[in-house]
Subunit: 504 residues, 2 copies
């Protein structure tokens, strides 16, 4: 039998996705009735029928756009030939009309976590050092260097020191209606399960984000205010000295056996290509279902990437209230983009397009696959803390680090990140498992990609196989038995706060 | 004679500013006709007459607000007793009505700078490493550590390595109308005079901020794209190897004698108190006049801090066009704040208020003093490059690091920063001279404050004395003969990009 050259995701599709790494040459016979009439690149769409102008182009069984011109069978359907459809109208969405039945429970799996007094369970044991305003960042970074060099080696049970620098805190309209978003994110980051209730907060003394007001959960003895210190050296000494006390306490934390239901896992994608929606995202979706079956919490996000498929999500909402919350979050973002003079098609990147994703509809349908198949039990505004078990939509921007930061604030203790083009993404607060959508990337970046989902496209594994592989790896890495590559290399990207309010 | 207890800035003022560190006690005789009727804290206003409700409160010879209630002579005029006046209407401003005569030229002063082929002159010799997208930051930071440790010691003429990380580049609405602001800032930072035309740019490969499109001035051979590299270690090697080539070239730069007219100095304030407008800011204004007289370029900024005194600035605009540009920038910011549901009084911080600044009008009038007394010859939008010599208004937010980043993009090669409450502010790209508004701060932070302007309030120096001190220190530090404290300690705060457009 000849090697498979393209795949159809859904029987109703009238386009195929090219899976040959070098693309398909003009004249290649694709099936009994289809022959390529031009070169079609890897990951891109080939027309499986003759399209007349304005005819529906169907992928994932859904209309991803309309032909801008007549497109003969066997042609490359490039981005410029696809007219973007209207987004689903928020007033006419089906709510809770297709609530999936609960999935069968999955028992017998556990992990080793750090149990906290507030009931949460951490996957790392970290000293978090947060700034209340950017002015102190330069001093904090110098103190962090000293802590890493002089103190950390003495506390072997502590996994690391994580500075949480940000651009908020002053010079911002702190009472603006939307300022609630960055304030909530910072407040919730401070109590992240991996910090074990010992976050160290460094403030200046005259900032708008007054420590005692906005960080009510940070211990008073874990706060340093630089304006109270007599000069530079004593500022650094004071931070280092408080850090020592925190490290003493953190060093006593020990891992214990915990049920999978104590895990809070975020899923996200970045640098997607046309394979993301066929391989990596459905495999992560399968793992998400396994987690939900085992009682865990799973967050999926990225408003602009689900916006065009939101009718599938509202139908899966567990009840009217959750469905309405989802619609409200979409409406908020529609309005936010409109105020800035753009719409949701500002989302796809040149890399997405080069990778074969024509527009945000196609990207969206592939992105939603990460959520698996269970009912959506809750919806969170950006950075709100989780309050339920099961599958949750956490509304966030799609921007990788903004989404990551919001999910951290919501309380994820591990993230699964899918990528097609490749990104050396890391969040130092939690382990990030990187799943490649194609095997070329896995080969190229073998010391950055943790799971190869590309083997699904080539037929070397099923979605279920890779889903189980991801699930098992989550438990290993959450237990500290194994390191994700980003942690191995200590790739530490700064967090990025979502601030939809003005600065002053 | 008794020790002076308060000062009046302008003969028309009907309030005094308390200059006794411990404040004035109830019952203290302040003058023949005024006795304190309650405790008035340091830096705060004491009523020099009986105010009826709604009567004008005058400081700097200007109305800073209206009495919300009857206020007896000798009372503390705290923030809550002052009603904010309307901001000057932008339609009715005097333009170019009080253009100052050119100041007498000041000759005979030079500094030692690094002359670049584009005509600009640097004050430091730095290897700048810029990211085109946040995804690469974690890898870049690891490479920067290696460059600092392994390479920098071999190139003694190079002052340092400065990573320019930012949150822009992808996950943003790059074609939104206001996206021109962050794109312009990054493009202009890349050609900063202190980088000597050798900036190293690190991109991912699929980001929206496509390197060759948005950084036309960066040399092609100075660019590294991570998606072209085979894994983590080769990514780091590739950055380090390019850095070595840049360092070879940078190491050949030498300082030469340059006229003061080659300097571009930014002035800014942060953590202001009621003394800022009496001591530090007027002294910096005097130094600004000296710089302008010597032919240099001086930038002052911070839209929300000049908004309430803008009628003084439009009158000083050199012509109708410059005056109108100033008004357009104010209008842009008014609209930006209004879209976010706030107004300019979102500016003052709790620290400002504790320091005696009742509202943004009072803060504004003090802030404008930094600009000195010369004509305003040009107005720049946020991050636009300087194109004239003389005094320029560079429109920026007032937020310290956002303003600093915009001024750097505009091309400042040194900054003078005034503070009353105290902030350990540093910009690693250029030296920052910190001027304290009060001697208490200078005493407390003697290894962070470069100039004490507090001695003006106590009568131990004049504005002219401190102005000359600042001017001379600028030349010393710009020449590399002396280090500002922030550089001495290597206090390096991250830059903070102004992005008024939405993220996706």
């Amino acid at each position: 039998m000849e090697k498979r050259q393209f795949i159809k995701v859904n029987p109703a599709d009238n386009v195929g996705i090219v899976i040959i790494p070098e693309g398909i040459k003009a004249g290649t016979k694709l099936s009994d009735s289809v022959t390529a009439v031009e070169h079609v690149p890897h990951g891109h769409k080939v027309a499986l029928k003759d399209f007349s102008k304005n005819e529906e182009i169907i992928r994932y069984g859904e209309v991803i756009g309309y032909a801008r011109e007549d497109i003969p069978k066997g042609s490359w359907i490039s981005e410029d030939k696809v007219q973007l459809p209207e987004p689903p109208h928020l007033e006419e969405l089906p709510i809770a009309t297709k609530v999936p039945d609960p999935l069968p429970p999955l028992e017998g799996y556990t992990f080793l976590g750090y149990r906290n007094s507030d009931g949460t369970v951490g996957t790392k044991n970290l000293l978090g050092i947060m700034t209340s305003v950017q002015c102190v960042e330069g001093v904090v970074n110098i103190a962090v260097e000293r802590i890493k060099r002089e103190l950390l080696p003495k506390y072997p049970n502590v996994d690391g020191v994580v500075p949480i620098n940000h651009h908020y805190g002053c010079g911002v309209a702190i009472d603006a209606p939307e300022a609630k978003v960055p304030k909530r994110i910072l407040k919730n980051l401070a109590t992240h399960p991996n910090f074990g209730g010992e976050l160290l907060l460094v403030g200046l003394g005259c900032e708008k984000l007054v420590p005692e007001k906005y960080f009510p959960d940070v211990k008073k003895e874990n706060t340093v205010i630089l304006q109270s210190e007599l000069g530079f050296e004593l500022m650094v000494d004071s931070i280092v000295s408080k850090a020592r006390q925190c490290l003493e306490r953190l060093d006593k934390r020990v891992r214990e056996v915990c049920p999978v239901s104590d895990l809070v896992v975020g899923v996200q994608c970045g640098g997607s290509d046309a394979f993301s929606g066929i391989t990596a995202n459905p495999a992560v979706g399968y793992a998400a279902d396994l987690l939900v079956r085992a009682g865990a919490t799973v967050l999926f996000s990225e408003v602009t990437e689900v916006r065009d498929g939101v009718h599938h999500l509202t139908a899966r909402a567990i009840n009217q209230e959750v469905g309405q919350k989802l619609i409200d979050e979409m409406a908020w973002y529609d309005n936010y983009l409109e105020l800035g003079g753009v719409d949701r098609d500002a989302n796809p990147t040149p890399g997405n397009k080069a990778g074969g994703l024509a527009n945000v509809v196609e990207k969206s349908l592939g992105s939603i696959a990460k959520s698996g198949s269970s009912a959506i039990v809750d919806v969170l505004s950006p950075g709100e803390k989780v309050r339920k078990k099961g599958l949750i939509f956490a509304a966030t921007p799609a921007s990788d680090f903004v989404c990551g930061t919001c999910q951290l604030a919501s309380g994820i203790t591990l993230q699964v990140f899918t990528t097609g083009r490749g990104t050396p993404y890391g969040l130092s607060m939690v382990p990030v498992i990187k799943v490649a959508s194609n095997s070329e990337l896995t080969k190229k970046w073998k010391n950055l990609i943790d799971v190869d989902a590309g083997k699904i496209a080539t037929g070397d594994a099923t979605i279920e196989d890779v889903g189980w592989e991801i699930f098992r790896l989550i438990l290993e890495i959450a237990s500290g038995n194994k390191k994700a590559w980003a942690d191995y290399w200590r790739i530490e990207n700064a967090l990025c706060l979502f601030n939809p309010a003005p600065i002053t």
